[in-house]
């Protein structure tokens, strides 16, 4: 195992393995099943660069397009516009055989571990399935890989668990098996969709630490999707804040929390409570309203109807470009119009 890690580290380069350029994912709405009736703009112009060994957290409310973005990266959904490149190759239009090879390099950890496993399959067969699909015919080789990955996720003694079924495991153990399944083909990219939101607080930390260890030992690139900013801090180098299909602020973890720029990010941070008895005496400051419809998003900045700092005639008319605040901190908000424009959006 150590040899494998060494070769993995040797491959390490600063080239991003995943690049998204202006990615758009639209879903067509149809009237009576055939007549065009507009688009749901689930993801609208997202850029991202992810290197090995790095974690990018994507934070946002439900309906902000996090899951559509993730499913498009996994190529479950097809992108409408823009490009996705993985290891230097554009993967927008892969054939199904190429797609199979791509998916073997990408692990996926689902939100609900119990829902993600077939209830009638034993842990052994759940873990062997990807190996069979990858064409590993040697039974002993498969068994060796299953044991190895189970030890990595600390499900020991391994043989006690292999014959069990998902319902016989606790939530934390189920999530470990899901992680083991994602890791068994030695992926280079791991996509984790709210991996701890269904778990108890005490188990959450355990799973996050496990993911962190796996990332370090395998030099993985990780996309961590969540709505919980408190866990993000312990797990990510970069945080992207998503609102109504767009990334509105990106920065490294400490800048985003300590030098927050976008009013929406401010609101998210303010709504995240720490265990503090003083909370009882104060109302939390929450922006009014709900996230906009993605069929007809508001003109200009999509957050302007809920924003307390809205500038009349600017925010509700023109789409804010991405302003560069330095240190890789980018924000799409007119409040920062004195900074240099990093990217114009339309």
């Amino acid at each position: 195992m150590t040899e494998e890690i060494m070769t993995k580290n040797a491959e390490n380069s600063t080239e991003p393995i995943l690049i998204l350029k202006d990615l758009q994912v639209y879903f067509e709405l149809k009237k009576f099943g055939f007549q065009h009736a507009g688009y749901v703009r689930a993801v609208d112009g997202v850029d991202m660069e992810l290197r090995r060994g790095e974690t990018i957290a994507i934070v946002g409310e439900s309906g902000s397009g996090k899951t559509s973005l993730m499913r498009t990266i996994l190529r479950v959904n097809n992108p409408t516009g823009g490009t996705i490149s993985f290891e230097g190759q554009v993967i927008n239009n892969l054939k199904s055989s190429e797609l199979k090879a791509f998916r073997q390099k990408v692990g996926y950890v689902q939100q609900d571990p119990y829902g993600a496993m077939a209830p009638f399959m034993s842990i052994r067969s759940i873990l062997e399935e990807p190996l069979k699909i990858a064409g590993i015919k040697d039974k002993e080789e498969r068994s060796r890989r299953v044991h190895q990955v189970m030890e990595e996720v600390k499900m020991t003694p391994v043989d006690d668990f292999l014959a069990k079924f998902p319902h016989q495991l606790s939530g934390g153990q189920q999530q470990r098996v899901v992680i083991a399944r994602a890791m068994i083909l030695n992926p280079v990219l791991l996509v984790a969709d709210e991996p701890v939101s269904m778990l108890d607080a005490s188990v959450r930390v355990e799973i996050l630490k496990l993911l962190r260890n796996l990332q370090e030992s395998h030099n993985l690139a990780v996309i961590y999707i969540t709505h919980d900013l408190a866990t993000v801090r312990y797990f990510s180098e970069y945080i992207y804040v998503m609102y109504a299909g767009e990334i509105i602020e990106k920065a490294n973890e400490s800048d985003l929390i300590n030098e927050t720029a976008h009013p929406y990010t401010h609101a998210l941070l303010a709504a995240t409570s720490d265990p503090d008895p003083k909370n009882v005496d104060e109302f939390q400051d929450v922006p009014p309203g709900e996230p906009p419809s993605l069929v007809n998003p508001p003109a200009g900045c999509r957050f302007h109807p809920r924003c307390a700092q809205m500038i009349e005639g600017v925010c509700n008319v023109e789409v804010p470009p991405e302003f560069d605040l330095g240190k890789e901190h980018l924000v799409s908000c007119w409040l920062f119009k004195d900074y240099e424009v990093a990217k114009n959006r339309s």
């Binding site: 409310e61 606790s170 939530g171 607080a201 709505h227 995240t272 720490d274 008895p277 909370n279 939390q284």
Partner: protein
Amino acid sequence: MSEEKIIRIQDLKLHFTTTRGAVQAVDGVNFDLAPNKAVVVVGESGCGKTSLAKAVLRLLPRNIGEYSGKVYLKDLETMSLSDEEYRKQVRWIKMSMVPQAAMNSLNPVMRVGDQVAEPMIVHYGVDKDKAMEQAAKMFQNVGVPVDFLSRYPFELSGGMRQRVAIAMALVTSPELVILDEPTSALDVLTQANIFNLLKRIKTELETSFILITHDISTSSELADIVAVMYAGQIVEVSESHRFFSTPRHPYSAKLMASVPRLRSKEELDFIVGRPPSLINPPTGCRFAERCPKRFGKCAQEPPIYNFGEDWVKCWLYEDQGEKA
């Protein structure tokens, strides 16, 4: 002193019979709550939190093994009431509940206004127009637009559905509302909104709350008192300022250390192992096997040590607390 409590629970037990033996989901719970206060019951999954709520509100499944103890609502002893009397005198009249995943517990084929009005019609026998008026008032109170009365649950967002479920629990103006994980499926902004709403209701309607949750961070938004539940028993009850600064029970301390915080970057800790099976809970202290401060005495059942209004069930406090 006892008359001023809104609820007093004494040695409440709820055991389920299963083919593998009796599951002691609630095993000797004691606590009481003063009016217009909120107690938060925290603990890991599988510690009996939801069973406690169900035992208090007598929403029981069929496989009951043992159901005993005393529950006083002010002066009314509810455990001796028949099911019919309980339904007429207590449920939704003195005490109501917002169930877990309340947003999915609404009837999908009934307009939400009718659902909120229903308890008024069933429990107070008012006519439909009056009940709808009351429902409209309740909608305003919880911040749902009144024209949503004639909508169906699928037409509402998760946060709105949660508000409707809260309106349903409040429509008969009970003195005590049990909330079971009211925000666990919601986004942070919606969570913050719901807690703002609960705080406002607590001051305006003088309602008392029992809030059941495993999310200690958000629970601090509402808690006056924190009760920690482990393996079917309550192991600590503390006033919230006290609890969030220095929890007494080793289990409480471990729970607090496992909470990710936004505003300080302490190293996170987790509790090794998992809660014991409630079919054959360990003798002695039930947390002993996972406890970092375990010592010889823990093999025996710890008594309760009082610290004024607070108490803890742990041998470590033998010399400090006053034995109950």
